[in-house]
Subunit: 327 residues, 2 copies
């Protein structure tokens, strides 16, 4: 019933609604209305109460509670279920456990804080509590393991599109799936799978976005290479709105991917690419190469033309963008 009271207040978009009207609308006593309003205030909602006018919702809490995330979210698969934790070890690790127990495709797990946040290639992902978006999405596509890298391109495109559409910033993607604004990293993506040798059981895509870090420095090596959406925009950012925008883009791109295959996502990836056409150093599992990035394939491979003219495909590893050589 608390959620029904919240919904009724939301529909008024900040205008007052009387306790009497809420009471008759929801079929509960005016004392019950008052109790639910008190509970909502405890959850962090700012609700003004005036003797003759009634109640007005003026601000939602800056928490990514499921009801906040799902308000106005019209997706088909992604976000069908939203779970929220104030703190967890790693949203990917927890969602992998939930997936093994049968959680539904599209389940989104959001946390305000991770105590063991993970990045690609065994690295850590750090973000002060409440300053970022930290969430994981569960997918159960019928794919071979080799096709999962395409989903990480897809996730990077979804984040870039959401940042562009909801904030008007001009994000870029560094291969395979770092999202940059102004040349500095604002989002990291870690896709993990459990699979048979020839068929995926499930994929968990973890996304970490620096949203309201302000001028707070990130620890260690990340300093200088990272930025935050609010720093780029010059004002505080509504985290829930960005999250909803990402989930909406993920939902659309995932449908496209399942129907049209990975190539349907690659052209969008390329349009945001900070890598194609640039001189790069690629550090693979067993080797390091330099050359010019020329394309990305649907399986996620980066195609590099090496300095002696050889064309090579990289499916794994790390890319450093290099300054152009002097003329």
């Amino acid at each position: 019933m608390k959620h029904e009271v919240l919904r009724a207040l939301r529909e008024e978009r900040g205008r007052f609604v009387s306790g009497e009207r809420l009471s008759s609308l929801l079929g509960i006593s005016r004392t019950a209305v008052w109790k639910h309003v008190t509970a909502l205030r405890r959850d962090g909602y700012t609700i003004i109460g005036q003797p003759r006018s009634g109640y007005a919702l003026v601000a939602a809490p800056d928490k990514l509670l499921p009801e906040v995330v799902r308000a106005g979210l019209n997706t088909r698969v992604i976000g069908s279920k939203v779970r929220y934790l104030a703190t967890t070890t790693s949203t990917n690790d927890l969602l992998k456990s939930l997936a093994a127990e049968g959680a539904a495709e599209g389940t989104v797990l959001v946390a305000e804080e991770q105590t063991s946040g993970k990045g690609r290639l065994g690295r850590r992902w750090e973000c002060p509590p409440g300053a970022g978006l930290l969430f994981s999405v569960l997918l159960r596509p019928r794919l071979a393991p080799a096709e999962v890298q395409g989903l990480t391109l897809l996730a990077a495109v979804a984040v870039a599109k959401a940042i562009a559409s909801s904030l008007g910033l001009r994000p870029e993607i560094k291969w395979p799936n770092d999202v940059l604004v102004g040349g500095r990293k604002v989002c990291g993506i870690l896709a993990e799978m459990v699979a048979e040798a020839d068929q995926v059981d499930f994929v968990v895509i973890g996304i970490g976005i620096n949203v309201n870090l302000g001028t707070r420095p990130l620890p260690g090596a990340a300093a200088g290479l990272h930025t935050s959406l609010d720093a780029e925009l010059g004002k505080r950012v509504d985290r829930a709105a960005v999250l909803r925008a990402v989930l909406k883009e993920l939902d659309e791109l995932y449908s496209l991917f399942l129907e049209g295959g990975p190539e349907s996502v690659v052209s969008e990836w390329a349009s945001y690419s900070a890598t194609i056409g640039k001189r790069v150093t690629v550090r693979g599992i067993n080797e390091t190469f330099e050359g010019t990035a020329v394309a990305v394939h649907g399986d996620g491979a980066l195609v590099v033309k090496t300095d002696d003219g050889e064309i090579r495909r990289f499916l794994s590893g790390d890319v450093t963008l290099r300054p152009d050589p002097p003329d």
Copy 2:
């Protein structure tokens, strides 16, 4: 000390050794020797005791206890650690949990019985307790997810070589990794991985071999399509000897694979193949195709020439061998 008594008895290869000699050899009292012999008998060892001659070990228990499996096993990686359970849900599921907690590469988990044994593509694997070999092997190779299918070919080759060398049977492999004797299935293999999109974290290879099923029918659909090593050989088979042979072959092939890449295993796979050169129906994730199997690639792909002359690669799915068309 019980294991030292066992080792001393083993070294006599069935001959008698006096309690006095055991006592001085191991630096324990004759009463202690007698106590350890009693404990070993409780474990299932058949040890004869005669007043003047001493003790003789005449039979090991038909249990795949770690000390039984490791006796005489000289491998580099595979079987570095052997764990044993009388019963478990699925050796793959349990070993995946142990792997997530940091278990070492090469760890082998053996069970006498699985209550939820799994086969490929979500199927069940059934075997009466004590009648088969049910074990999983943990590998931590630095591979991309797409390369894991090569490890399942490798596992099938290891089982086929072990059955050929230890029993003199003539096994065949049906793509990707069923091992057949006399055209009927004697072994199923299920490889599962946990991976990032571009890098494997670990692979668990589950192997189930029908060893001493005798004439006991297997339940359901498996009847008629399956056979057992003892049925093919006409006598009871030493399960531990077969297991040691498989672990030894796995150990050698895995070194070869890591040094020489998957192609180094493919030629051996092809030499056991029941699929290459045959007319086949391939059921992939989204399609069914007929044609003639012409090759296998290092990534595990089956290459099929379809009836209208097209060459297709299948990375996933199921193969049915078809009778040759009438002339």
